[in-house]
Symmetry: C2
Subunit: 365 residues, 2 copies
Amino acid sequence: MEISDRKKKILTAVIEEYIASAEPVGSKTIAELGDLDLSSATIRNEMAELTTMGYLEQPHTSAGRVPSPKAYRLYVNELMNRQRLSLEETDTINESLSNKIQQFDKLMSDVGKLASSLTQYPAVSVAAPRAATISRFDLIYVDANTFIAVAMLSNSTVQNKLVHLPFSVEQGMIVRLAAVFNTNFVGISDDKITPSLISSVERACGDTMGLVSVIAAFAIDTLNKAKEGEAYVSGASHLLRLPEFRDPDKAHELMNYLSDSEHLLGLPDDGVDDIQVLIGPENVAKELQDSSVVIARYNAGDNMRGIIGVVGPTRMDYSAVAAKLSYIAAGLSRLMGMSEAPRGFEKLQIKGMEMITDEHKEDSP
Amino acid sequence: MEISDRKKKILTAVIEEYIASAEPVGSKTIAELGDLDLSSATIRNEMAELTTMGYLEQPHTSAGRVPSPKAYRLYVNELMNRQRLSLEETDTINESLSNKIQQFDKLMSDVGKLASSLTQYPAVSVAAPRAATISRFDLIYVDANTFIAVAMLSNSTVQNKLVHLPFSVEQGMIVRLAAVFNTNFVGISDDKITPSLISSVERACGDTMGLVSVIAAFAIDTLNKAKEGEAYVSGASHLLRLPEFRDPDKAHELMNYLSDSEHLLGLPDDGVDDIQVLIGPENVAKELQDSSVVIARYNAGDNMRGIIGVVGPTRMDYSAVAAKLSYIAAGLSRLMGMSEAPRGFEKLQIKGMEMITDEHKEDSP
DNA sequence: TACTGGCACTCTCGCCCTCTGAGTGCTAAT
DNA sequence: ATTAGCACTCAGAGGGCGAGAGTGCCAGTA
C-alpha cells in the first residue's frame, strides 16, 4: 500500500513527538498539536493502519505508538526537514576547529570531543588506515652516542625517533648511513624491508654494530604506525542521560562495545556518502541493533580520510546531529584538505595572529 | 578507646566480606567464617562497639554493618596483607609493557587500558607537566617549497613539523636559518621567545617573508605542548558493573567528572609516596567523596613523571589493585627511566627480536 | 568476668492485590 | 470520510502483608 500524504504528516508528528519525549505517543497528543485539523479518532485509525504497514509499533495494547526503524528510515530519507545551523552554532564550530587544528596529533580526539559536546551524544572519531612509504630520510647527529632519525612519509607526515647508543659513532658514519637509507628505503613498503635487504645495506656501509637494524626497525615501526587507523570515543557518559540507557546493563554493553576500537576502525570503509545514517537493525553489530549511528566522512588531503560519528538511541535528533556533523566534517576538509594550497603554513601561526583561511562562512554545505 | 586485636580481626573480616559481597555484613556471617572461634553474640557485641567507635555503619537498624571510610583507612594502613602477584600476572604485565613501549606516544593511553583491564576498574593515566627548553634545532630541506623543522627538547623528546611554503626558498637559506636558531633559541623557555627576539633574528638572517615567525611559532608550540600534561581515562564502562553504580545518575556524575581531564591533571602534584590511596571523603573533589582512588607514581626519567590510577567504590579490592598498579609503575620506571643506561636503543628492536632488558623479575617492588 | 544461647523487636524487601488512567478498537451517527 | 462515544485492556502506582535477616539485651554458664 502506498503511504498517503496525510499518513506521512501524522508519522512525522509521531516521530518528532517521540524524539522529544521518549514516551509512546497517543492519538490524542497528535490531535492536540493542532497541526492537522483532525480528531483523535481519525488519527487513531490512521495510526492503526501505519501500525499494520510496519511504521509504528505498540509496546503493549493500551499504550501509544512508537516509531519503527522503518519509520525512522523514511523520516531520514524524505520526511525530516534538514536543519540549518544558527550563525551562533557555526561560529562555535569554526572557532573550535581553528583552535584544535594547531595541534595535529590531538586533532582526532579533540574533534570527537567537539562533536560529542555539540550533540550531547557519544562520538567516535576514526582516522582511516592509509598505506604509506618513506619519501625522505634523515639522521641528525646530536652527540657521539645520540642521533635523531627523521622520516618523512608519502602521506606528508613526519616521524622521528631519538636514538641513544651504547657505543660511540662518528658523525661521518651517520651521514653515510643517511645517504644509504635514502637510496635503499625510499618509496618501498614495509614488507620490502627484509632481513636480506638489511644485511646487504649493512655490508654496503660497513656497519658491524647493528645500527642499520635499529634504523630499519624505526622505518618499519613508522610505516606500520601510519598503516593503522586510530579511533577515539568521547563523551560516552552522555549515554547515561538517556532514558533508553537507564538500564545499566544496556549502557554497559554499548559502552563496552565502543571502547574496543577494533570495532570502529572498520567504519570508514563501507559507504560512500558524505553523511550516512544507520538506524537500529541496519547496523551489522548486534550491540548496535537498538541504536543509531550518524557518520560524516571527511577528506583531509594527503590520502588521509576520516570519519566523525555519533551514537545514540534510534530515537535520535537526526536532523540536528546530521547538520552538526556535516558542518564539522566540511570544516575539517576545508581546513586540512587544501592539497593544492600551501599547507602547514597556516597551522603555525603564533597564537593571537590571524589564521590564514577563508573567511568564516556560515552555510552548512 | 584503643582498638583491641580481636576487634581488628573482626573488622578485617567484615571489610573483606563486604568487599566481596557488596552487602551489609551480619554477625552471623562472620561467626560462620570460623576464623575466630566466637559465637555470633560475642561478635555482635564487638561490632556494636566498633560502630560506636566509628568503624562500622548501619544502613538501617535491622541490617548488617558496612565499613566506614575510617575502617578502610585502618585496613589499608595496617590490616590488609599486601598481596603478591602470581607469576602469571607479572608475566602478563611485563609482556604488555614490552609491547606497548614500542610506540611511545600511545604509551600513556595504553598503560591506562592495561591497568583498567587488569583491575576491572576505570583507570586514569596522567603525565605530569614538565618544563622544557629546546636543546637542538634542525631544518631539513625537502624541496623548494617544503622543509621539515625538528626540535629536540631538554626532556629528550623530539618534535617535528612539516612546513609547506607559499613561495620558494633556497637550501642555503634553510641551512642559515637552522644555524641562527641553534644559537638563539636553544636553552630558553617559551616566554623568552618575544616578538623583539623574533624581529632581531629576522634581521640577522635577512628574512623578509616571515619564515622566522613560522619557525618560532613551531618552537613555542612545541614547548607549550611539552609543558602541558596529558590525561587519559580508560575502561570507564567498568563502573556500570558495580552495584554502587547501578544508579545511572551516580555513574553519570562520576564518569562526567573523569572525562574532563582538567580535574585529573592536578593529581600528580600532591603526594609523595609511590603508591597512595584516597578513600572516600579523603578526596577533595565532591564527585569522588563516595569513591576511592588508588594512585601509583612512576618516574620515567628525563624529568618525566606520571601517575597511573584506578577509581572505584570505597569497597575496592585495595590489596589487589595496589599490587597491580605498583607493579605496573615499577615496570614503567624500569623500562623507561634508565637515564644512565642506553635509551631508545632497546625500543627499536624489530618485532620478534629479543628485547634488551633485564630478565623478567616477578617480585612486586 | 567473658562468653553464649535465647528471645523479642525492628525494619527491608518481595509479593499480591487493587485501583487509576491512558490509550485503544469498534460502532453508530453525522 | 469523519467523529463522538463507549467498552475494554493493561502498565504502573500505591497499600497491606508476611517472611527473613539482623539487632540489642538479658540471663545463664564456665
